[in-house]
C-alpha cells in the first residue's frame, strides 16, 4: 500500500463541498402511503374483522345519526323561542318555557348519543386493531419458513403496527364520516326548508370551498409528505449517530457528520415551513367564505325581516348554521386521506394474511408418542427450496435409537436442509423422512416438535430471565430441574457469576452474554426439553478456548441417551460420533465411523489429512482440490 497524496481527510472543503463519499442516515424507501380511496376487495376482507362487532357498529351509527339530529335541532329551538316568545308584537309567554324544555330534552339526548357513539366506536376500533394483529401474528406462526427467511422482521413489524393502526383510524373516522355527511345534508336541507331563496343564496359559497379544497388537497398533501419524509430521514440520521457512535468517534467523523446532518435538519426545517404554509392558507379562505355567507344573511335576510317576509328567528338560526357548515366539509376531506391510507395498508395486511401455509397437519394426523424408539430415517429424500434446484438428491440413511451421527460436508452440501427436514420445517418433494417409524407428514407438528429438540448455530435467547430462557420449552419446569440442567452442561458457574444469578435479565437477543455463554444456555434449554432426538448445528464461529472446552463437555452430556444428529465442524466432535455421514452436493457419498472412513481414503480422509482443527478452516483452494481428488478416483 503506497502512500498517496495526503488529502486533508474528512473535512468539508472551504468552498462548501461535502466529501463525495460521506453520507449520514439512509434514504428510506417509503412504502406507498395512499391507495385508491375505495377498494372493494380490501373492504370485504376487512369486513371479516368488523362483522363480529356488527351490533356495536350498528348501534354507534344509529347514535351518530341521533347525535347529528340533535345538533341540527338546536338552532331551530332557538328560532322557535325567538319567533314565538320574544319578538316585538305578540310574544307568547309559554313559548319560551316550551322551548327551554325542548332544549333540555334535546341536550340530554345529545349527551347520551355522543357518549354511546364515541365509547362504542372507540372500543370496537381498539378491539379490531388487536384482532387483526392477532390474526396476522397467528398466521405468521404457521406460514412456511421460506417466507420468513426472505422477509425482514422490520417489514413485518411495520405491517403489525403501522398498517394495523391505520385500519383502526379508518374504522373510527368512517363512523364519524356518516355523521358528517348527514350533518352536511341536514344543514343544507334545513336551511332550504326554512327559507328556500335565502338558503340557496347562502349555500352558494359552499361550492367555492369545495373547488378550492380540490385544488388545494394534492398540493398540500405533497407538502405534507415531503415534511414527513425529511422528518424520518433526519430522525434516521440521529438514530444512526446513536448506534454508530463508537465507529464515528474512532474514525473522527464528527465534524463532517455534523455538517451533513445540518443539511438534513435544515431541509427538514424548510419542508415543515412549507407544509405549515399550505395548512394555514386555508384559514383565511374558510373565514372569508364564512364572513361572506353571514354578510349575505345580514343584507338579504335582514331586508326580508324588515319587509316582514322572514322571521327574525330564522335569520338567527341561519347565522348559527353558517358557523357550523364548513366543519363537515373540512373533516370529510381529511377523511378522504384516511381512507386512502387505510386502503393501502389494508392491501399490505391482506398480502400477509394470504401467505400460504405449506406445512399443515393432516386431518387425521397422529400424535408422536414419547415412548417411540427415537429413530430417524431418510428414505430416498429429494428436496429443494426451489424444486428445480434440489439441495438434497435421493438421500437415504437411518439413525438408530441412541446413536450419534455427525453430518459432515463442505458448505452447500445440504447438511442444514437435512436437519430442517427432520423437524418438518419444509416438506420433501420425493421420498420420506421418518421419525420414530412414522412419516413426519403423518404426525402432528406439535408432537413432533416435542420429541425433536434443536440447537441452532446462532443461539437465540428471548428477553426474560436466564431461568425463563432455560425452561422456554417446558414452561412448568421447576427451579431444581433448571439448575440441574445448567449444572449438567456446565453453565451453572457462569450463571451464578451474573449479577442476579438465574434471575438475571437477558438483554435484547442476549447481548449481555458472550456467544459461548449463549450456546451453553441453549444447551441447557435443550436438556430441559428432554426430547428423544436432538438435532444440533455446531457453531462455526470462534469461541474462546475456555468456553469451547465447556461446550465440548456439555455436548457429551446432552447426547447421552438420545438419538443425536450433529452438523459437526470440529474434529473432536466428528471423531467422537458413532457414525459419520459425508454429504457433497446434496448426495450422501460416504458413511461409517472415523476409522472406517479413514481406511476408505475418500473425501473425508482427504479433508481430515489436511490437518485443520475444523473443516471450516480449510481454505477454498485446498477444499476444492480435495473434492476434485474424489471425482478423479
Amino acid at each position: 500500500m503506497s502512500e498517496e497524496l495526503e488529502t486533508e481527510r474528512n473535512d468539508v472543503r472551504e468552498d462548501g463541498r461535502r466529501p463525495p463519499r460521506a453520507v449520514v442516515g439512509s434514504h428510506r424507501i417509503e412504502e406507498e402511503m395512499f391507495g385508491k380511496a375505495f377498494d372493494g376487495r380490501v373492504v370485504r376482507r376487512i369486513w371479516a374483522f368488523v362483522s363480529p362487532y356488527k351490533m356495536q357498529v350498528a348501534v354507534s351509527v344509529a347514535a351518530v345519526l341521533v347525535f347529528t339530529g340533535t345538533q341540527l335541532v338546536i338552532p331551530l329551538i332557538i328560532r322557535y323561542a325567538i319567533d314565538n316568545g320574544m319578538v316585538v308584537g305578540s310574544p307568547d309567554p309559554s313559548a319560551l318555557g316550551w322551548a327551554v324544555a325542548a332544549f333540555a330534552l334535546v341536550i340530554l339526548i345529545n349527551y347520551g348519543a355522543s357518549f354511546v357513539q364515541a365509547s362504542v366506536v372507540g372500543k370496537v376500533a381498539e378491539n379490531m386493531l388487536f384482532d387483526i394483529r392477532r390474526a396476522m401474528f397467528g398466521h405468521l406462526q404457521k406460514v412456511s419458513l421460506s417466507f420468513m427467511d426472505k422477509t425482514e422482521v422490520g417489514r413485518l413489524m411495520s405491517r403489525l403496527q403501522g398498517d394495523v393502526n391505520s385500519m383502526q383510524e379508518f374504522l373510527e373516522t368512517s363512523v364519524l364520516s356518516v355523521g358528517d355527511i348527514v350533518l352536511l345534508f341536514g344543514i343544507v336541507g334545513v336551511m332550504l326548508w326554512l327559507d328556500f331563496r335565502l338558503g340557496l343564496l347562502t349555500l352558494s359559497v359552499l361550492p367555492v370551498l369545495f373547488i378550492v379544497r380540490i385544488f388545494w388537497l394534492p398540493l398540500a398533501r405533497k407538502a405534507f409528505m415531503a415534511a414527513h419524509v425529511t422528518n424520518s430521514v433526519t430522525n434516521g440520521a440521529l438514530a444512526e449517530a446513536i448506534h454508530g457512535v463508537r465507529a464515528v468517534q474512532s474514525m473522527d467523523r464528527q465534524q463532517v457528520n455534523f455538517t451533513l446532518y445540518d443539511d438534513k435538519a435544515h431541509a427538514n426545517l424548510r419542508t415543515h415551513l412549507t407544509a405549515s404554509r399550505y395548512a394555514q392558507v386555508m384559514v383565511p379562505i374558510v373565514d372569508s367564505l364564512t364572513g361572506l355567507a353571514m354578510a349575505v344573511v345580514i343584507v338579504v335576510g335582514g331586508s326580508m325581516v324588515v319587509n316582514a317576509t322572514l322571521d327574525v328567528g330564522v335569520m338567527v338560526a341561519f347565522l348559527f348554521y353558517i358557523q357550523r357548515f364548513f366543519d363537515p366539509i373540512r373533516s370529510l376531506t381529511m377523511q378522504y386521506s384516511v381512507m386512502q391510507r387505510a386502503m393501502a395498508s389494508g392491501q399490505r395486511l391482506i398480502e400477509v394474511l394470504d401467505v400460504e401455509i405449506d406445512v399443515k397437519d393432516k386431518p387425521d394426523a397422529i400424535a408422536l408418542s414419547p415412548q417411540m424408539d427415537g429413530s430417524v430415517e431418510f428414505r430416498g429424500v429429494s428436496f429443494g427450496y426451489n424444486p428445480k434446484h434440489p439441495v438434497l438428491k435421493d438421500v437415504s440413511f437411518r439413525v438408530n435409537p441412541g446413536e450419534t451421527v455427525a453430518l459432515v460436508g463442505p458448505t452447500g452440501s445440504g447438511k442444514s436442509s437435512a436437519m430442517a427436514l427432520i423437524h418438518r420445517f419444509y416438506d420433501v418433494q420425493q421420498g420420506e423422512v421418518r421419525v420414530g417409524g412414522y412419516d413426519v407428514r403423518d404426525l402432528t407438528q406439535e408432537s413432533l416438535g416435542r420429541q425433536v429438540a434443536m440447537v441452532l448455530q446462532e443461539p437465540f435467547l428471548f428477553t426474560g430471565s436466564v431461568f425463563e430462557n432455560i425452561r422456554y420449552h417446558k414452561a412448568d419446569a421447576t427451579r431444581e430441574e433448571v439448575i440441574e440442567a445448567a449444572k449438567a452442561v456446565g453453565a451453572h458457574d457462569f450463571i451464578m457469576s451474573l449479577s442476579d444469578g438465574y434471575e438475571t435479565g437477558i438483554e435484547e437477543r442476549g447481548g449481555n452474554l458472550s456467544l459461548g455463554q449463549r450456546q451453553l444456555l441453549s444447551f441447557a434449554r435443550a436438556l430441559v426439553a428432554d426430547a428423544k432426538i436432538l438435532v444440533l448445528d455446531e457453531a462455526t464461529a470462534n469461541i474462546d478456548s475456555y468456553t469451547e472446552m465447556l461446550i465440548q463437555k456439555a455436548l457429551v452430556t446432552l447426547l447421552q441417551g438420545r438419538t443425536g444428529l450433529v452438523i459437526a465442524h470440529r474434529l473432536a466432535t466428528i471423531r467422537g460420533a458413532d457414525r459419520i455421514i459425508v454429504l457433497q452436493n446434496g448426495q450422501l457419498i460416504e458413511t461409517g465411523n472415523h476409522d472406517q472412513l479413514m481406511a476408505e481414503g475418500g473425501l473425508y480422509s482427504r479433508l481430515y489429512n489436511l490437518n485443520y482443527a475444523s473443516f471450516d478452516d480449510i481454505p477454498d483452494a485446498e477444499l476444492e482440490a480435495a473434492v476434485e481428488g474424489g471425482s478423479q478416483t
Binding site: 332557538i78 440521529l238 444512526e240 324588515v306 406439535e446 470462534n542 458413532d578
Partner: protein, 622 residues
C-alpha cells in the same frame, strides 16, 4: 447532497451558534430556558403574539356585529327607521363583518404560521445541539445509556419542547384575551346573563385539564405496555426458527395474548376517560346555553335586553367553546414541555468526559513509538474494580504486539485506551513521548486506528462504508484496501458490487464479512498505530492468513497490536503479552513463551491439539 443544499448552507449561517445557544441558561427553570430560546427569533415571536392579539380582538367583534344586525332589523321592523336607511345600515354592517372576517382569517393564519415557525426553528436548533452532543459524549456515557432512551430524547422529548411556544405560550395569550375581554364585554352588557353564559368555563377548564393530565399519564403507561407487545412480536419473528424448533407456537400465542390484553384493557380505559370527559364538557356547555336562552329570553320579554343581544351572547358562547375545551391541552403542553425539556437539557448540559485539554496540541509523530507506562484502569461505572493494573510495554514502528488472555482479563481494554475511548486512571500512555491526554483528539484518532470486535455498518454503499474515515478517497484506494482485507472478490459478486447498499436496510453481511470490511476501513486510515481488537474471530483461519500476508508491507510502516484469543492470529508477533486479571503475567515471543511452559503453553496445547483426554471422555459417553 445537491448544490441546492450547499446554497442554503450559506444562508443558514453558523450552525455552531445554534448549538451554543441551546446550552444557554443552565440552572434556569426548564420553561424559562425554552422561552429564552424562542426569543432568539424576536421578529417571529412578535408577529405571532401580535397576530394572536389582533385575531382574538376581531373574533370578539363578530358576535357584536351579528347582534347589531339583528337589532337593526327589529328596530326597522317595528318602524323605528325607514326601510332605505335600514338597508344602508345592514349593508354597512355586512361589509364591516366581511372585512372583520377576512382580517381575522389573515391574522389567524399569521398567528398559526409564525408560532409554528418559531417551533420549527427551535426544533432545528435543538436537533443540531442534540446531534453534536451525542457525537461528542464519550464511550463511558454511551456504555451506560440505552440507545433507545437517547432516541426518545432526541425525537419525542425534542418534539415536546418544540411545541411549547405554539401550544402553550401563544395559547395563553389567546385564551386570556378571549376569556378576559369576552367576559368583560358580556358582563358589562348584562351582569346576570354574562355570568350565566360564562358558567360553563370553569367547569370545562377544570375537566379538560384533569383529563388531559390523566390521559398523558396513561399514555406513557400504554406506550410501556405496547413496547412489551412489540418486543414479544419482534423476538418471535426474529427467533422464529427457535419457536418452531421447540414447537412453541402455542406458548408464543399465550405470550402475545397476555401482552396484547394488557395493552387493550388500558386502551379501553383511555377511551372511557376521553369519552366521559368530552360528553360531560359538551353537556355542561349546552346547559349553560339553555340557561342563557331561559334567562335571556325572559329578559327580552321584560324588555331589558334586545333579541340581538341575546343572539350575540349565544354566538359568543359558540366561539368560546373550542378554545376553552383546549385549555386542557394547553395545561398538558406545559407539563409535557417541562418534563421533556428537563430530560433534553439534561443531556445537552452533560460534560464530555473525554475532550481536548485546554492546551492540547496536535500529535507530532516521527518514530511512531507507543509506550504504556504503569497503566491502571477501572471503568467509571465500577471504580472499585480495577481492570488493568500496572501495565507497561513499548512498541515501535514495524513491530507487532500480540495480547492474549482469558475472557475478562482486560485485553480489549488496552485496545480502547490507546485512542482515548477511555482515560487511564493511573500511569500514562505516550506516543513518541507525548502523553496522549495532552494531544488533540482529532490528531490522536488519526494516528490510531482500531478495528473493533463488533463493527458497525452504516446503511450506505460498501465503498462509502470502507471510505468512512476518508470520504474523499479515490476508488482505486478503496478497492486496494478491500483486496488486502480479502473482501474484494466477495464484493464483486454482489448485485451492484461496491455500490451495493449494506447495513440495517441493505444487504446483510455475515460476521466474517463485516470484520473484513472493518479491516478494509482501518487500512484506509494509514495510522501510526493499528489495533485489531479481536477482530478476526469470525474470519476463518485461512482467510486470516491471507489477510496477514497481504498486510505485511503495510505493517512495516506502523506499529500493529493484535488482541485475540485464537493463538494462530498472533503467534508471529514480535512480542506477546499474556494478560490475566489485568496484569501482564507472561511476555516474550511465541517460542520463548512455549519454552517457558506456563499459561501460554497451556492455552496453546488446548487450541492446537484438542486434548486427548477430552476425546476419550466424548467416546466413553457413547
Amino acid at each position: 447532497m445537491s448544490s441546492d443544499a450547499i446554497g442554503s448552507a450559506g444562508k443558514r449561517g453558523n450552525s455552531f451558534a445554534h448549538v451554543e445557544a441551546a446550552g444557554w441558561g443552565r440552572g434556569l427553570s426548564t420553561l424559562l430556558r425554552i422561552t429564552r430560546m424562542t426569543l432568539r427569533h424576536p421578529w417571529q415571536v412578535t408577529f405571532a403574539i401580535g397576530s394572536t392579539i389582533i385575531a382574538a380582538g376581531l373574533q370578539l367583534a363578530i358576535p357584536q356585529l351579528l347582534g347589531r344586525a339583528v337589532d337593526e332589523t327589529q328596530i326597522a321592523f317595528a318602524g323605528g327607521t325607514a326601510g332605505a336607511a335600514a338597508e344602508d345600515t345592514l349593508w354597512t354592517l355586512a361589509l364591516v363583518l366581511l372585512a372583520v372576517a377576512i382580517l381575522r382569517g389573515l391574522f389567524t393564519m399569521s398567528q398559526n404560521y409564525y408560532s409554528e415557525s418559531v417551533g420549527h426553528h427551535i426544533g432545528y436548533e435543538l436537533r443540531l445541539a442534540c446531534y453534536e452532543k451525542i457525537q461528542r459524549l464519550s464511550f463511558s456515557f454511551h456504555d451506560q445509556m440505552h440507545s433507545g432512551d437517547l432516541i426518545t430524547i432526541g425525537m419525542l422529548d425534542l418534539e415536546g419542547v418544540r411545541m411549547f411556544f405554539s401550544t402553550a405560550l401563544v395559547r395563553v395569550v389567546l385564551l386570556s384575551i378571549l376569556i378576559g375581554v369576552g367576559a368583560y364585554l358580556l358582563i358589562s352588557t348584562d351582569v346576570v346573563l354574562g355570568l350565566v353564559a360564562l358558567s360553563f368555563v370553569p367547569f370545562v377548564a377544570w375537566r379538560s385539564s384533569v383529563t388531559q393530565l390523566r390521559l398523558r399519564a396513561t399514555w406513557l403507561d400504554l406506550q410501556e405496555r405496547l413496547s412489551v407487545l412489540t418486543r414479544v412480536m419482534e423476538e418471535n419473528l426474529g427467533g422464529i426458527r427457535v419457536v418452531r424448533a421447540f414447537a412453541a407456537q402455542a406458548h408464543e400465542m399465550l405470550k402475545f395474548d397476555k401482552a396484547s390484553k394488557n395493552a387493550l384493557s388500558l386502551a379501553h380505559e383511555r377511551v372511557g376517560i376521553r369519552v366521559r370527559n368530552t360528553s360531560a364538557m359538551t353537556f355542561s356547555f349546552f346547559i349553560a346555553m339553555g340557561l342563557v336562552l331561559w334567562v335571556g329570553g325572559n329578559k327580552v320579554m321584560a324588555g331589558e335586553i334586545s333579541v340581538g343581544t341575546l343572539a350575540s351572547f349565544l354566538t359568543f358562547m359558540t366561539i368560546l367553546q373550542m378554545p376553552v375545551r383546549q385549555l386542557g391541552m394547553m395545561v398538558n403542553s406545559f407539563a409535557r414541555a417541562s418534563t421533556c425539556g428537563s430530560r433534553l437539557f439534561g443531556l445537552l448540559d452533560l460534560d464530555v468526559a473525554i475532550k481536548d485539554a485546554p492546551d492540547a496540541r496536535p500529535l507530532d509523530i516521527n518514530e511512531g513509538t507507543l509506550r504504556f507506562e504503569n497503566v491502571d484502569f477501572a471503568y467509571p461505572s465500577q471504580e472499585s474494580r480495577p481492570v488493568l493494573r500496572g501495565v507497561s510495554f513499548e512498541g515501535r514502528r514495524g513491530e507487532t504486539i500480540g495480547i492474549v488472555g482469558p475472557p475478562g482479563s482486560g485485553k480489549s481494554t488496552i485496545a480502547h485506551l490507546i485512542p482515548r475511548f477511555y482515560d487511564v486512571t493511573g500511569g500514562r500512555i505516550t506516543l513518541d513521548g507525548q502523553d496522549i491526554r495532552k494531544a488533540t483528539l482529532a490528531s490522536l484518532r488519526k494516528a490510531v486506528a482500531v478495528v473493533q470486535q463488533d463493527s458497525f455498518l452504516f446503511t450506505t454503499t460498501i465503498e462509502n462504508n470502507i471510505a468512512y474515515g476518508d470520504p474523499w478517497a479515490k476508488e482505486r484506494r478503496i478497492e486496494r484496501a478491500a483486496e488486502s482485507a480479502q473482501l474484494h472478490n466477495y464484493v464483486l459478486g454482489l448485485p451492484a458490487a461496491y455500490g451495493t447498499v449494506v447495513g440495517e436496510r441493505g444487504v446483510s453481511l455475515s460476521g466474517g464479512q463485516r470484520q473484513r470490511l472493518s479491516i478494509a476501513r482501518a487500512l484506509m486510515l494509514r495510522p501510526a498505530v493499528m489495533v485489531f481488537d479481536d477482530s478476526t474471530a469470525a474470519i476463518d483461519a485461512a482467510t486470516e492468513q491471507r489477510i496477514r500476508a497481504s498486510m505485511k508491507k503495510y505493517a512495516e510502516d506502523r506499529l500493529t497490536i493484535i488482541v485475540a484469543h485464537r493463538l494462530s492470529s498472533l503467534m508471529h508477533a514480535d512480542q506477546i503479552l499474556f494478560l490475566e486479571h489485568g496484569e501482564i503475567v507472561e511476555r516474550g515471543t511465541h517460542e520463548e513463551l512455549l519454552a517457558r511452559g506456563g499459561r501460554y503453553k497451556a492455552l496453546y496445547d488446548l487450541q492446537v491439539r484438542p486434548g486427548d483426554e477430552m476425546l476419550g471422555e466424548f467416546g466413553a459417553a457413547q
